[in-house]
């Protein structure tokens, strides 16, 4: 019998499964699809903005206590968040995709504003349209995009790659007071395709010949500036691609700017997680949509998933709901305005009338109620009913399905996923095998 069945294969589910497996539990993951990791920039945004504030958070360790009391981060506390981040860094480093605080990268030594030490400091990196993005951890290739670095930049686009506009990015950066210009290099010698997705290009740049050609072209257009490229620098041989480029372009710093989906940095992260899970003997079954469950009143006994024929039953001692919020599919809103949690029909903190889902202004600074709704949990990440008691004794929830957070506005998506996923896994592990009594 499984100790833990994780439902959902986004960052939350995969990382929680990994943490639980490392704690010695028998774990399996089922998911409807591939998870939202593929849409995201591949950075770990922990807390970029406090509710209602326009100014980005400089240090999340200081900002967390200012969050509303019900916020999942307040629930966990700064130490638990930090532990989860360290565990996450250990995982990705082991998978060959190291993440560091963007404010502490080795390249940053000596640059004004860089402290060199890793605390809760956020860095401002560059969004796909050249806007600043507050980020906590970044993969090596994105760290040098740090906007605290005042050296001039050239943003290099590729012909045949739609949806990446170097001039627009550069203009937006200049408007914020940075020195940047745009340039484009031709790809016609490398591919005949005119509609390359970021992923196709990343696969192309896994090839040494393409790497060399790109390095030449980049050296041609960069006049000593740091170089920003779309995040397509290799998929499976990313590290090698970066090393190759670094060598060929000399000491010049270069960095990746995330693109529209499919996001290659997100895919790299997803791959690192899945490979680590396979290494732990954890199976991830995709294409399985949870569609029912059985309970004895206090405990969930099984979850059913939809198949080509009869539903398939999954029994386990514990269940972790990591299905995502309204965007990821864990919460569904129908045409009448009812909002429900899709697997266990858990109580939601949600406006149940469609007229109250959204505020009239698209960019309202308070955000939209429907994106803030979710499942309320206790400090052990167990979903609570209206009276504040756990709904089921062996059910846990983590990630974007949680209430009292608005990850889009807070820029806290990955932080919530990692911190709550880890906390839930740790709580399950304590439940399955309680620590030995103090006297032995």
């Amino acid at each position: 019998m499984l100790d833990l069945l994780v439902i959902g294969a986004g960052l939350t589910g995969l990382f929680a499964a990994y943490a639980a497996a490392r704690a010695g539990l028998r774990v399996r993951v089922i998911a409807k699809g591939m998870g939202a990791t593929h849409w995201h920039a591949g950075t770990i945004d922990l807390l970029g903005y406090l509710p209602g504030e326009q100014k980005p958070v400089a240090d999340w360790v200081e900002a967390v206590p200012e969050l509303p009391a019900a916020h999942p981060y307040r629930n966990l506390g700064v130490d638990a968040i930090r532990t989860a981040m360290v565990e996450f860094q250990r995982l990705v480093a082991g998978a060959g995709l190291p993440y560091e605080s963007a404010a502490a990268g080795p390249w940053f030594a000596g640059v004004a504003g860089g402290s060199g030490e890793q605390d809760g400091r956020n860095s401002m990196l560059i969004s796909p349209v050249g806007a600043p993005r507050p980020v906590y951890l970044a993969p090596a290739a994105q760290q040098p995009a740090n906007l605290a670095d005042t050296r001039p930049m050239v943003i290099v686009g590729l012909t045949g790659m739609p949806d990446f506009y170097p001039t627009l990015i550069a203009e937006n950066l200049c408007r914020q007071g940075h020195r940047a210009r745009g340039a484009t290099v031709p790809l016609d010698k490398l591919t005949a395709r005119r509609d390359n997705s970021p992923l196709q290009l990343a696969r192309l740049f896994d090839e040494p010949a393409a790497q060399a050609r790109l390095a030449e072209m980049v050296a041609d257009v960069a006049a000593g500036e740091r170089v920003g490229l779309p995040a397509v620098l290799g998929l499976h041989r990313h590290a090698r691609t970066c090393a190759h480029l670094q060598e060929a372009t000399g000491a010049r710093a270069f960095f990746e700017i995330p693109t529209l989906p499919p996001s290659v940095p997100g895919l790299r992260l997803d791959t690192a997680l899945r490979e680590s899970l396979a290494g732990q003997g954890v199976r991830v079954e995709t294409g399985m949509e949870a569609c029912g469950f059985g309970t004895d009143g206090r405990r969930i006994e099984w979850v059913e998933s939809e198949t080509g024929s009869r539903p398939l039953r999954h029994s386990a001692r514990n269940f972790l709901l990591a299905t995502g919020g309204i965007l990821g599919g864990g919460i569904h809103g129908d045409r009448c305005g009812r909002v429900r949690e899709v697997v266990f029909d858990l109580p939601l903190t949600a406006p149940q009338a469609r007229s109250q889902w959204l505020r009239p202004l698209f960019l309202d600074s308070r955000g939209h109620p429907v994106f803030q709704c979710g499942v309320a949990v206790d400090a052990r990440c167990q979903p609570l009913d209206e009276s504040g008691a756990p709904v089921y004794d062996n059910l846990w929830a983590a990630g974007a399905v949680l209430a009292h957070t608005d990850p889009i506005r807070e820029r806290s998506r990955e932080g919530i996923a990692i911190a709550t996923g880890y906390a839930a896994a740790a709580a399950v592990a304590r439940d399955v095998s309680p620590p030995p009594a103090a006297d032995n």
Partner: protein, 434 residues
Amino acid sequence: MHTVSLHSAGMSLDACIKCNICTSYCPVSQVTERFPGPKYAAPQSERFREIGQPRSPDASVDYCSGCRVCNEVCPTGVRIAEINARARAQMVAEQGLSLRNRLLGRNELLGKAGSLAPRLANFLLHNRLARRLAAALFGVAEQAPLPRWHTEKFTRWLARTDMHRLRSDRKVVYFHGCATQHYEPFVGMATVLVLEHLGYEVIVPRQNCCGLPLLSNGEFGAAERYHRRNVERLTTYIEVGYPILGSSTSCTLTLKEEAPELLDLEGDAGVRALKLATWDIFEWLRERQEQGDLPTDLHRLNDEGKPFTLPYHAPCQLRAHRIGKPALDILAQIPELELRESHARCCGIAGTYGYKVEKYQIAMDVGAELFGFVAAQYAGLEASSSFACTACDSETCRWQLEHGTGLPSRHPIEILAAAYGLYDLQARRPRGGN
């Protein structure tokens, strides 16, 4: 005539959020520029396909192999592969069908014809000249791994060994499919031996092709006739509660879902009963295992005390069942078996896709990921004189695996039968009196 209609697959396209995850994973669009990928071919182009419209707006959909990787990864449940299959059917309805596709769609007919004189058929089909001719005249790829007819059909073996077959109150129905009947009767033998070992009597009623090759070549009318005939023949058994078990993942998928859904037969009571009664053999064995009914007298597969390394590939056809990888759950019980799970997306062949001249190379390029995985499992192992093979639940995928890796490939049921001591894995025949 089937045209694009209002159906569950088509309705699902509204759920598309344009995330491009499907395009990231589509193995075909990764290796060829002729296919732009699932998002463009299905949810995007579908909006421009209309009932009665003279021409399909996007002929590239013919390059979709139907592997369904896109369905599996789509986070919002868009039935991309089904939308593509319908678009292809519409193209067939408009432009007619090539003789080659008509032939490839009639696997069962070919199988029967060859079985009349298997040696002659093998000679005719497998010599160089014939293959070259077939390529030039019909567009059947010269190097593609065509199967060989077996000298004894599966049902003939059943009849010949009738006095050895188990009679029991506990009964199951076996749907063997064309490949087992004509090319790989030993897969059927292994299935029967395992089921009898569990104490079940195996009923093999008359049956015909599930119709999948017709569906994937867009011949929906003929496919519907095939499917209705199977429903007719199996209904009596379903009514008394016997499960319908299959060892061919594509046949069982067709009975469960492809035929009802693509042919708009979801409302038909008989079709629905068959859908709910059909099991993949390992899906059913896993259920027995969970009930504690699976015999545990499993022996190791090697004599020398060295572990037996077995790369296992769950074919896309099986993944499309959405039942996980039940063979892994069962085979894991075999002592000293080193199971290695492949995460490759597709072997490339995708039914009849890789047999077509213009698609052969695409299929091989798609398969490279899997062939590489298999090779990596033996890297560092000293070459062993003992038998080595891969395992895969689907017949055409096994043929492609053998073609791409040079190693023999087995159905997991053959592995299990061997571990029960019932079957010779290398020679592919029952042990003992059968």
